[in-house]
Amino acid sequence: MTAALGHVSIILALLLALWGIIAPILGSRMRREGFFVSARVAILGQFLLVTLASSSLIYALVSTDFSIRYVVFNTTRSTPIYYRVTGLWGALEGSLLLWEWILIIFSGLVAWTYKNRHQELMPWVLMILSTVSAFFLAVLALVSNPFEGVFPIPADGRGLNALLEDANMITHPPLLYTGFVGLTVPYAFAMAALIKGKLDDGWIVTTRRWTIIAWFFLTMGNLVGAWWSYHVLGWGGYWAWDPVENAAFMPWLPATAFLHSIQVQERRHMLKVWNLSLIIIAFSLTIFGTFLTRSGILSSIHAFSNGPVGSVFLAFLAFVLLGSFGLLAYRADHLKGQSELDSVVSRESAFLLNNVVLVSALFTIFLGTIFPLIAEAITGAKVSVGAPYFNSVTVPLFLLLVFLMGVGPMIAWRKASWDNLKRNFLWPALASLVIALALFIWRVRDFFPLLGFTLSVFVTATILFDTALAVRARHRLAGEGVLAALRTLARRNQRRYGGLVVHLGIVLIVLGIGGSMSYSIERQATLSVGESLSVGHYRIRFEGLRGTQQPTHYRVEGAFRIFNNGDESGIFFPALKFFPNQQSPVGRAVFRSTYADDLYLILSGFSELGQNQATLKVLIRPLVTWIWLGGAIIALGTMVAIWPAKNSRQNAESSEQANYRLPTES
């Protein structure tokens, strides 16, 4: 019953989506307004039907309706209710449904928000949104149906992967999908502008906030994934350059480039083709990511389905790329920039370089990810590209990006005068050189970490220095105190100050990655009861093993007493969990986090060693905490940037543009 309801909803939604594609074309041929209205109704109808389908699947999961195959594979009768709900995105079919659901929520918001605005563009925006929606609905209806039945009906389900029973499962996939799907909105506006030939900067101004929101979710999705990997998966790292991780990270790069280069287009009416290309690439990468992870063409270690879904996504990807770039070529005449680069020492040029670096990083990561396929196709050799490739290639690029993060927001548009440079960068540069020297004398002697830390200081100094100057100006001008001045500044120029706060967050992440990449210590040893292992400033004494039967698994934990510089700081219990239906145990690492470093304990074995010996792996990873703090600061900065202004929206859009000026220029 539930299954039928869900499946029929999807088919009806698909029909509406197809109508949503045809209606704008008919409307513009016959010049009848009614068709355009029906395109919007089609979006709202899809929204209701897909919500119904998703609710059906959630209901089936919660009520353990084992007549549905998907439910069997993702729940058991003993699964707690919240993990039954997260079963919605526990596997392929459900996660596609979630994707479609988020997409149609975004589409509905767009249709509703711009009900009376952008009359020319909206029918085509809605057509593009319906096209993407139609693709996902067709996949859900025809290729991977989440409501497929199973017979005979089993007594109990197979259950979710034990690793997925984690609180992060609730947040990580939806965040990431929201980020992916959010990019569809600026993409749809870009395509509508191309179709209509209405290629002023209107589509960019309109979609700016949507892009920031998508970017934010993409950032958070990746960070929460890293957090999950670090805290739960128990291998001691947060990023492995795994194809799946790369697939999630790659769209972030052109999205970030886009957020910066649209400012050049708004301000200087340049880079039009470039911006359109970036958003096409960003959107295509979200489809490519799904293709990569669902097709099973990469690395068999990932137990991905090898069904037809991969080829369907590949076909859609080809359609998107050909269609979008074809349209771009068709409209090439309309896309001449209205000005040119005046000087290499200017903000335009800093932003342009930032874009080149981001796209280069994208290219190298893309190449590394698909290289095994290319190599096998050409030479037949089976190769894999390890993390050292990605690290050695991206570290210099990202450090250059950090440097540009210090320069870009402060340097003048058009042509920076010597005065402008001296005023904005002299003190920050001196401050970072002093700190670099201090770090070198202290003990940071390696090139990349030293450069990374120095550049982080440089960026922080430019931001603090610039803000301090602006605060002082407010103080002189209006007699405001520091806090009041900061509030006025942030309110008057939300995007700029929000962006600067985001940059500070990125700096913290750079510190965290730099510290943990360069100065981690790793030791493993087999200890008998009473023996100790010294790692860095920690000493770890093994106190004994204990086994307990838990509701779903058998748990073996080791007790380890920690001494930090000789002082006792508690007992830690890393554990191994043995699930009856899984071959190998799931590790449960424990850690002690401080701002300086994380001590990370992994129980790697004991069984063959008798009852009083345990094999322990110890990691000390400096500064990792700062990565998560950086994520929080980025969230804060995004809020500052997109917080609705008090005056009416119309005003906000025009004033945002007018406000986009440097305090130093005024």
């Binding site: 596997a91 997925l164 991905f304 145990p585 590790g587 790697s604």
Partner: protein, 148 residues
Amino acid sequence: MHRTRRFLIGGVIILAALAYLIYGGMRQAIIYFVTPSELKSQERPSKDKFLRMGGMVVPGSLQKDLKNLTYRFQLTDGIETVPVYFHGVPPDLFSEGKGAVVVGRIGADGLFIATTIMAKHAEEYSPPHQGKTPYQKSFIPGQEEKRP
């Protein structure tokens, strides 16, 4: 024209730098997959190159020293065998007669010094579900290639 030429030169410099980065990175990070026979048939196996070798652990060949966490065993593909040395904690599924993939380099004496062992799951193993599971990898404890 002057401007175009400058952009061209800038572009070429950037591309060259990028190509250099990629080439350097690939050279050190590409890991070839070989079988024991392929390894033996190579005239002069490159000593500095990281390799990934797959085969079966020869029954009766495994010598382990649990106190020092060292393992010695033979890996075979049915034709050739290669001796392997490993220091660390192998995955739980690692045992004699089972498949394993070792990552490491070949020493001068023909001993394969592994830095990572990945055990192969048994044939009947089916993942609890298919689909969004980027984390299957951690079902293979002892796999440490992820740490840069």
